[in-house]
């Protein structure tokens, strides 16, 4: 094996006396795609921020290309050849692709002006290398997020990075775009560039990574070649439990008691269409049942949820609630009808960052908590305390701003926001995305509990385990239509994949 490109050993770091990392290690070989996994709070981002010069370590050594180094700022890290692609894009959407590629490193003419000819040539080289086909003179923002992300990666690679750090790079990509990204990563690898790939999606890690380092409670608890591990091993390592234990309990906490027949139909949608990629959806949701919506990204699953919840105007079809036609023209009307919708986008459609855990949790419940416009804060506090306990929300106190909480805890607060109104139908769009394994199981268990109590759930999930173990029925969507319906018990992952990939004619309508 080659000498390692990077070797971090015995790294410790505390924040205000609380240790975030104790004895963390990370070794990366040249041309290796390396994943760092762990629950939220395990120290992944702290370790990466120490590597990229955002934080300074308390002790330990960082050996980069055979020499001990001390990177004191992101700029120093970048100059040493460590580039980071952030989750939030850090480029300038209004400017052209060329301007973005050369941003901060513009080639100059003899007069000190920007040499656009060289800039364009450089841009074309980068784009060609990754097989990205676009007009470099157009504004970057006019392209889909995926393309923008690839441009950001191309930009980093063009600066001779030896190590590229990608933090949840696929969170805004659809499957085809993910494939393009993986192609780029494989190409980088072939050229000897190493990649640190951080993702909550284990399937992706198994597909693209060579080696994985597992962190738990600020320590490196293991590092292994991915080929030698199973998914269960990985989860067990992150949780600190044995694989056997988890196998017995199931991969998710969504599995329920045997199917109960004949629950009343809470909502029945027929021929639902909007101008937003929803063509014709038929759906029936019964009390005490989970219906899963499966489909590739872009198949219209989120659009279906938006239509039902009154966010997009219907261009066709109708919604019956308890058998009566309902005019749901806004989320407010949907809430009044007993619907709740947990958006997949926690940050832009979920949290109110500066408000407290308490204020965030009761936002949808507020009308029922107030008399003559005055909020009954005593009752509010009692209710919030109850949810914090029941959902296991980890916060210093209920008046802590929600932005200070980890992603998993924010998600629990938002789930609490909707459970508090005691909805009859709960629409969950990727409820466990971007949430660590421990919180994920807790959230699944909470959902299951509500279903047992008679709530109807529409579950959109990209994780096959959640759909297969949790849903009574799985409606498969394609191009805005429901194309088939699979009924549990007995649905297998192969069946589901087959149904998702099948043409609209297969399987018959739902």
């Amino acid at each position: 094996m080659d000498d390692p490109l990077l070797q971090m050993s015995a790294i410790t770091k505390s924040f205000g006396g609380i240790p975030a990392l104790q004895d963390a290690m990370l070794t990366i070989a040249p041309g290796e795609v390396h994943s760092i996994v762990g629950q939220n709070g395990a120290g992944k981002s702290t370790l990466i921020k120490i590597l990229t010069g955002v934080y300074r370590r308390d002790s330990g050594t960082v050996c980069w290309q055979g020499r001990d180094v001390d990177l004191r700022s992101p700029r120093e890290a970048q100059e040493a050849g460590i580039a980071t692609i952030y989750q939030e894009l850090t480029l300038v959407p209004q400017r052209t692709v060329i301007e973005n590629i050369v941003l901060g490193y513009e080639p100059r003419t003899r007069l000190g002006l920007i040499d656009w000819r060289v800039a364009e040539a450089r841009t074309r080289t980068v784009l060609d290398r990754f097989g990205i086909d676009l007009d470099p003179h157009r504004a970057l923002g006019s392209y889909p997020t995926a393309i923008q992300q690839l441009v950001a990666i191309g930009r980093a690679a063009s600066m001779d990075a030896k190590l590229l750090i990608m933090d949840e790079p696929t969170s805004s990509l659809d499957e085809r775009e993910v494939e393009v990204l993986f192609g780029v990563i494989r190409q980088l690898k072939a050229q000897g560039t190493s990649v640190i790939y951080v993702s909550h999606l284990l399937d992706e890690i198994f597909e693209i990574c060579d080696v994985v380092t597992i962190l738990r409670d600020g320590r490196t608890v293991g590092a292994a070649r991915i080929a030698e591990l199973t998914k269960l091993d990985l989860i067990a390592g992150m949780l600190g439990r044995s694989a056997e234990e988890i196998r017995k309990a199931g991969m998710t906490e969504l599995a329920g008691s045997p199917r109960r027949e004949g629950g009343a139909a809470v909502l029945k949608a027929t021929g639902l269409s909007t101008d937003r990629r929803l063509r014709k959806l038929d759906l029936t949701l019964r009390a005490g049942e989970i219906v899963g919506l499966a489909g590739l990204l872009g198949s219209g699953r989120t659009e279906a949820a938006r239509a039902i919840f009154g966010m997009d105007r219907l261009s066709g079809g109708q919604i019956l609630i308890d058998g009566v036609p309902a005019a749901i023209t806004s989320p407010r009307a949907a809430i009044a009808a007993g619907l709740a919708f947990l958006s997949e986008d926690r940050k832009t459609e979920g949290i109110i960052p500066d408000l407290s855990v308490r204020e965030n949790l009761t936002l949808a419940l507020l009308p029922r908590l107030s008399r003559m416009g005055v909020v009954d804060t005593t009752r509010e506090r009692t209710i919030v305390a109850g949810f914090i306990k029941a959902l296991g929300i980890k916060a210093a106190h209920m008046d802590q701003p929600i932005r200070e909480l980890s992603g998993g805890n924010q998600q629990k607060v938002l789930l609490g926001r909707w459970l508090a109104i005691e909805p009859r139908l709960l629409i969950l769009d990727e409820p466990t995305r971007g949430v660590d394994v421990g919180a994920k199981r807790e959230i699944q268990a909470i959902i299951r509990e509500r279903v047992e109590q008679g709530c109807a759930v529409l579950l959109i999930s990209s994780e096959f385990e959640e759909l297969i173990e949790g849903a009574n029925d799985i409606v498969v969507m394609q191009e805005g239509r429901s194309i088939s319906r699979l009924s549990n018990p007995g649905v297998t992952e192969d069946q589901l994949i087959h149904a998702m990939a099948a043409g609209p004619s297969a399987g018959g309508a739902a």
């Binding site: 919840f309 966010m311 806004s330 989320p331 407010r332 949907a334 809430i335 009044a336 919708f341 958006s343 832009t348 459609e349 979920g350 949290i351 109110i352 960052p353 500066d354 408000l355 204020e359 936002l363 949808a364 507020l366 009308p367 908590l369 107030s370 416009g373 005055v374 909020v375 804060t377 926001r417």
Partner: protein, 316 residues
């Protein structure tokens, strides 16, 4: 229950304390009822307008029209109580000369609010419309003349004393406390902060965003109208060309020094009052110690810049 004092507010209180201590040491006759009364009467109108401005800023908007709304309300009042009808019915006339201008001011707020919340015009553009046209309307109402009058009942609003302090100071104080409670305790306050904090999340949670925004511009305009009446009462004269001039900027300055974030989502009412008081006292201190008017403006601006910078630092 012990609520932690907001560090921003604490910083402002310390700065005010230092300023007062400096004045006690340096400024002759500082501890004097007259000094207090002068300062209170000058700061009250700014504070009243700034309270409304802070609510608008909390919603994620801005209101440039407050000065023009003051001018319209201020121009209307004398027209009403100098009318033949009001002279015949002094009681009803006085009431009408207060209520009608406030209602007209509220209507201006509805106009702003509808443009912004329903038609989706950007707040700075929407309120610019009335910023420009409102003063014109006020001047048309008064034919561009300075109206002077004597009406002791009305001028009490600007010159009266309660417990030896100017009545408008009490009004500002009561409004501050009242609105602080509204922000903290009512569903409107909670919705306001959620609209300014994350509008899309608020919509999804069933918050009636348009109604909340319109209500906020109505409150801001009504408070501006009240401030316009007070200014006219202080002067016993109404000058449509000058009432409330540059008031929007003073109000924004007070709100920002008080801890409002222009990105929305925060409505520190007590902070706004203290911010207005701080700017006022700063100017007074400099002038009372022989610093020229021109220098005072420059130093005040510098202090505001420092205050804002300090608050940014604390937010990280």
């Amino acid at each position: 229950m012990i609520r932690r004092l907001d560090p921003r507010l604490a910083g402002l209180l310390v700065a005010l304390g230092v300023l007062i201590a400096l004045n006690l040491a340096m400024t002759p006759n500082f501890l004097n009822m007259q000094t207090l009364a002068v300062n209170v009467s000058q700061v009250a109108t700014i504070a009243i307008v700034a309270l409304g401005m802070t609510l608008v800023i909390a919603s994620g908007g801005i209101d440039l029209s407050v000065g023009s709304v003051m001018a319209v309300a201020g121009a209307l009042a004398p027209i009403i109580f100098l009318s033949d009808w009001a002279l015949a019915n002094p009681g009803a006339g006085l009431a009408a000369s207060i209520v009608v201008p406030l209602l007209v001011a509220a209507l201006c707020g509805v106009f702003n609010g509808v443009l912004i919340a329903i038609l989706g015009v950007q707040p700075i553009i929407a309120t610019l419309i009335f910023f420009i046209s409102g003063r014109g309307v006020a001047q048309v109402l008064t034919n561009g003349n300075l109206q002077t009058f004597t009406n002791p009942s009305f001028t009490w609003l600007g010159t009266g004393r309660v417990l030896s302090l100017p009545v408008q100071g009490w009004i500002a104080l009561i409004l501050t406390i009242g609105l602080a409670l509204v922000v903290r305790r009512t569903i409107y306050g909670r919705y306001l902060l959620s609209v300014g904090g994350n509008e899309r999340a608020a919509v999804l949670s069933g918050v009636p965003v348009a109604r909340i925004k319109i209500a906020t511009y109505v409150i801001a305009a009504t408070l501006a109208g009240l401030a316009g009446l007070i200014v006219v009462a202080i002067n016993s004269a109404s000058d449509a060309a000058r009432i409330g001039q540059l008031m929007e900027l003073d109000a924004i300055a007070a709100a920002v020094v008080g801890g409002a974030a222009l990105s929305g989502g925060r409505a520190p009412m007590v902070g706004t009052l203290l911010g207005a008081v701080f700017i006022q006292l700063m100017g007074y201190t400099l002038i009372a110690n022989g610093v020229s008017d021109e220098m005072t403006l420059i130093v005040t601006a510098a202090i505001i810049a420092i205050a804002v910078w300090l608050q940014r630092g604390r937010r990280q």
